[in-house]
């Protein structure tokens, strides 16, 4: 022992110092990582994709064990200070996720929060030790689905069918589904009674045509319901129906009315012109009470009068009719609604004819004087000729 050199002792001492570190490093290299570290979040699905404030929805989290050992999961949950978890104890005791296997976790949450982007945290606690934390992006947006009037007639006419076109637009960032548009109102018949649309993608717009036939002034309420995820939302649109004269409707004008005696009766003739912008269908002209229409023209059928078109007419009334005869023209619009126009024809002069409406005999007196003068001139010549 006395022969061991000092250098050797120093080397041994150094080895004693270094060896434990090397042994420890060798030990580290061979110790396997915990199995739970191989568990990762492989997919997240939110329904709806974008929440309205107050919406309830689901978050589906898919977890994959990419390791070679089974991992036992103690508990899974989602927590956030703003987004409220409704399904509180669903995953309090989960079980094992086999090597290479996947496991889905679904949480129901409610977004009673203002608009914004939130990050609730998905938490997976393993059996013995360790955990997984994963923030989930959840967007709350109150951008609406809009129902508006795209087109409607300038005026509504009682009993006349009018086409109203609505526009349904999705201004949201997710798709809304199962859309039902239902019109309602009193004194109005709306066709179709419902329109169903399967889905409306973000930014998409559809036109909806409704035929309205109102029998009285009313308000038509259009109620649109749709699903945003599992949540039903509703929007309404009110369309007042106020009657007015259709500015483009047919407008037959009766003019050039002349009455004349004819075989004991009185013939009334005239022109009828359509000064409107629509066709006047099935135009007929007749005399209204208290006048007494008689054959051959109790009623005169004109037929179709296009805009700016005209026709003559002739009706016959009894001589016993009063002096003022209502001349009534009736016509139908394209929906078969009947309209009338009338004027009063004065037949008093025809019933009690005067020799002339010029009312003056002066021209005839002048003619008589002329005749006498000419006669005198001629007579004077013959008298003078004979005297010579």
């Amino acid at each position: 022992m006395k022969n061991v050199p000092v250098v050797t002792l120093l080397v041994l001492f150094g080895m004693l110092l270094v060896l434990p570190a090397g042994v420890m490093a060798q030990a580290d290299a061979v110790t396997p990582a915990p199995a739970y570290s191989q568990v990762t979040v492989s997919g997240v699905t939110l329904d709806p994709g974008t929440f309205f404030t107050g919406d309830t929805g689901t978050i589906d989290v898919e977890v994959t064990n990419t390791g070679t050992q089974s991992v036992t999961v103690h508990r899974a949950t989602v927590y956030d200070s703003d987004i409220r978890l409704i399904s509180m104890s669903t995953y309090d005791s989960v079980g094992s996720i086999g090597a290479g296997n996947k496991m889905n976790f679904q949480f129901t949450v409610r977004a009673d929060v203002p608009e914004g982007i939130y990050y609730p945290v998905f938490s997976l606690e393993f059996q013995d030790t360790g955990y997984l934390r994963y923030p989930l992006k959840l967007e709350v947006n109150d951008a609406p689905v809009v129902l508006s009037v795209q087109d409607k007639p300038d005026t509504f006419v009682q009993g006349q069918k009018s086409v109203v076109t609505l526009s349904l637009s999705n201004l949201r960032t997710d798709t809304v589904k199962n859309i039902l548009i239902h019109p309602s109102g009193q004194n109005v018949d709306v066709i179709p009674q419902d329109i169903v649309i399967d889905h409306l993608d973000p930014g998409q717009n559809v036109n909806l045509n409704f035929n309205l036939t109102a029998s009285g002034p009313t308000t038509v309420n259009f109620d649109a319901r749709y699903l945003n995820g599992p949540n039903t939302h509703r929007i309404t649109l009110s369309l007042p129906v106020v009657f007015n004269t259709d500015k483009t409707q047919a407008d037959p004008v009766i003019s050039n009315v002349i009455a004349a005696q004819e075989t004991g009766n009185i013939k009334i003739t005239g022109d009828i012109t359509n000064s409107g912008l629509q066709n006047a269908n099935s135009v007929t002209v007749t005399a209204g009470p208290p006048a007494v229409p008689v054959d051959p023209y109790k009623i005169y059928a004109v037929g179709l009068l296009k805009p700016d078109d005209f026709s003559s007419f002739e009706i016959t009334v009894s001589s016993d009719s009063p002096d003022n005869v209502p001349v009534i023209a009736s016509f139908k619009d394209q929906d078969g609604n009947v309209y009338t126009r009338s004027i009063i024809a004065d037949i008093s002069q025809v019933k009690n004819p005067k020799s002339s409406n010029t009312g003056s005999v002066i021209p005839w007196v002048i003619v008589g004087i002329l005749a006498v003068c000419v006669g005198l001139v001629i007579g004077y010549q013959y008298w003078k000729t004979r005297n010579h």
């Binding site: 050039n256 001629i378 010549q381």
Partner: protein, 236 residues
Amino acid sequence: MTYVVNLISMMQNIIDILIRPDSFFRKRIASEENLKIPFLLVATAGVVGALYGYEAGSLTGRMFAGAGAGVSQLISVSSVVGAFVGVILFWLIGSGVFYLISMAFKGTGTFNRTLECVGYGFIPQIFGSLITLASAFYYLPMVKVPEIKSLTDPVLLQNAVTRLMNDPAMLELTRISVVIGVIFVLWSANIWIYGIKYARSLSFRDAAITILVPVIIYIVYTLVMTFIVSPVPGAQ
């Protein structure tokens, strides 16, 4: 000065024609044939007649105003031209008829001389036309003119024309015009008798027959058509 003398001479001649036709034509026949003045007289009657035609034509034109652009103008122009040409034709045809009838009485003298003498007889026609024109100015504004918007419907056309001609003011004007025409044709006939007497060397009796037979036929026909037969079907 010459102009004044000529004017006075012309006025004297006109008065002679109107009230002393025998004296006028006796002097006239001694001169050479000259159709210039008779033509001017006939043309003057034609111009006055054309004015009347324009007034009546304007009325008809108003009736067709809605039938298309230019229709009313076409009718007015047609009325003016028709009235003027009608007077000229009346002069030519009338002279021809008188000439032919006078041949039955072995009349002598050229056709130009007949034209000349008949032409002078148109002076009363000028006065007659002026009075008729004045009547038109009086009556035409009272006429209610129906409007025709299409020339393609003959029933519409017929109805409108019937209404126009049956208008009381129009009927009155038609009747007065015819009566005035008859009066002044009689005055002209008186002048034509003396004219044809000298132009065709006829006796007064033969000249009277030559003129009065066609004139009376013309007058009777005109009066019958105006007062007995309606001017258009359906007239009152």
